[in-house]
């Protein structure tokens, strides 16, 4: 179904040149307007097809779409099957009208878009006029509030997390790893990079790899790898 919709909608390529949509509802509203429908007289099936074609087109072009677009796509496929096979309603689902539900979602989102537009049209501080004594919207000292309190906790966590990373980085410095590899190379002219691993921690592996590149660059060792993902061999270079 997606493929045929795609073939029918070559003309949809223009969509790729549009500014990005805020989300699937935004895209649906765009398609509805483009097809000159209103929410009251909306024919949902062609809109569903165009939506799916858009998503398929974006995926075919390897353009990353937020997960919500794909969730909506599967919801719309389900919705379309309900519309085409009205008898498919499962027991306990009488009274649920999925088309009506979708329209309600669109109505609520449309209202919000309009409200957002009206807000942006109001004279705004720091854009259309400035308050006395201030041209920068961000304050150096936050007002007291629960948001400020929670952000303070986040700041503590960020800072202490930073310490942990620093310590780790110090434990596996590239210089240190270069020393370790060099010592092993002195004992044996040919070693595997994995021979140098002690803890197996990710940061150690990264530091070791960087160190081997450094040693190769400074002509202390030659790096050999047979094939992708093959073992990395270090061969001592005689001075």
């Amino acid at each position: 179904m997606m493929a045929s919709a795609l073939a029918e909608n070559r003309s949809l390529d223009f969509i790729l040149h549009l500014p990005r949509f805020e989300g699937p509802l935004d895209l649906l509203l765009y398609l509805i307007e483009k097809n000159k429908y209103t929410l009251a007289d909306l024919e949902i099936c062609p809109i569903i097809d165009q939506y799916l074609a858009y998503v398929a087109r974006m995926r075919a072009l390897d353009i990353e779409l937020a997960g919500e677009f794909l969730d909506m796509a599967s919801y719309l496929i389900w919705l379309k099957s309900c519309l085409l096979l009205p008898s498919l309603t499962r027991p306990g689902e009488e009274g649920v009208n999925p088309e009506h539900e979708l329209k309600e979602m669109l109505r609520a989102y449309l209202a919000i878009k309009q409200a957002a537009h009206e807000l942006s049209e109001r004279p705004m501080l720091f854009r259309d006029r400035y308050p006395r004594g201030c041209t920068e919207p961000e304050r150096t000292m936050p007002r007291m509030g629960l948001g400020a309190l929670l952000k303070a906790i986040e700041a503590i966590r960020d800072r202490t997390k930073h310490y942990v990373i620093k310590l780790e980085a110090r434990r596996f410095s590239i210089r240190e790893m270069m020393g370790r590899i060099h010592a092993l190379l002195k004992a044996s002219p040919r070693i595997e990079l994995t021979d140098c691993v002690k803890t197996g921690e990710k940061s150690e592996l990264i530091a070791l790899f960087m160190a081997s590149l450094e040693l190769s660059k400074s002509s202390i060792a030659r790096l050999v790898q047979h094939g992708l993902f093959g073992r990395i061999i270090l061969i001592r270079r005689e001075a």
């Binding site: 979602m105 919000i112 409200a115 807000l119 006029r129 308050p131």
Partner: protein, 179 residues
């Protein structure tokens, strides 16, 4: 020294809007209508003498701001603020619907809204309400920035109230279909 000029000085030195409550704390014998009349007199004086600023009502009080025609000149020294579409939409939900959870916002918008929430919190346009689950509400700063006395001054709020009465709530239609 007149009361009118005391009011002017109070608004002039205020960081953010000077609330009516604060003004009446300093001048207890003035009713709110009196304050409003005196502020109107001040604005007339500014207009007649060609001043570059006025006092506007904002956040249950008053705020000194520059006249819009001076904005291009001020912008030479300070970049203008601009709200993203996502931030505006999240702000609209919170302002029109009243305190609400992230889930409500995302159900209405149909997309993840955490980074917009984060930036709005940082700019103090919204804050977190006491209690659980976590709900966001519009702040006085929001009212100042958009020149509103209170949230009830938002245009067509009645129209939106009707829409939100039917709006999908915490468990949206999309979530139900995914069970």
């Amino acid at each position: 020294m007149e009361k009118r000029e005391i009011i002017e000085a109070l608004i002039f030195v205020s960081d953010g809007a000077r609330t009516l409550k604060e003004i009446r704390q300093v001048l207890p014998d003035l009713a709110s209508d009196d304050v409003e009349a005196l502020v109107a007199e001040l604005n007339r004086i500014y207009e007649q003498s060609g001043r570059s600023f006025r006092i506007i009502p904002a956040a249950e009080g008053y705020l000194f701001v520059t006249r819009p025609e001076y904005t291009p000149h001020i912008r030479t020294l300070a970049a203008p603020a601009r709200l993203s579409q996502a931030a505006l939409e999240v702000l609209a939900v919170i302002a029109y619907k009243g305190p609400c959870t992230r889930q409500t916002i995302e159900t209405i918008r149909g997309v993840d809204s955490s980074s917009a929430l984060k930036s709005l919190l940082k700019s103090e346009l919204i804050d977190i309400k006491p209690g659980k689950p976590m709900q966001y509400h519009a702040t006085d700063r929001f009212l100042e920035v958009f020149g509103l006395r209170s949230l009830s001054e938002l245009p067509d709020i009645a129209q939106f109230e009707e829409v939100f009465a039917h709006a999908p709530d915490e468990a949206g239609a999309l979530d139900q279909s995914r069970e």
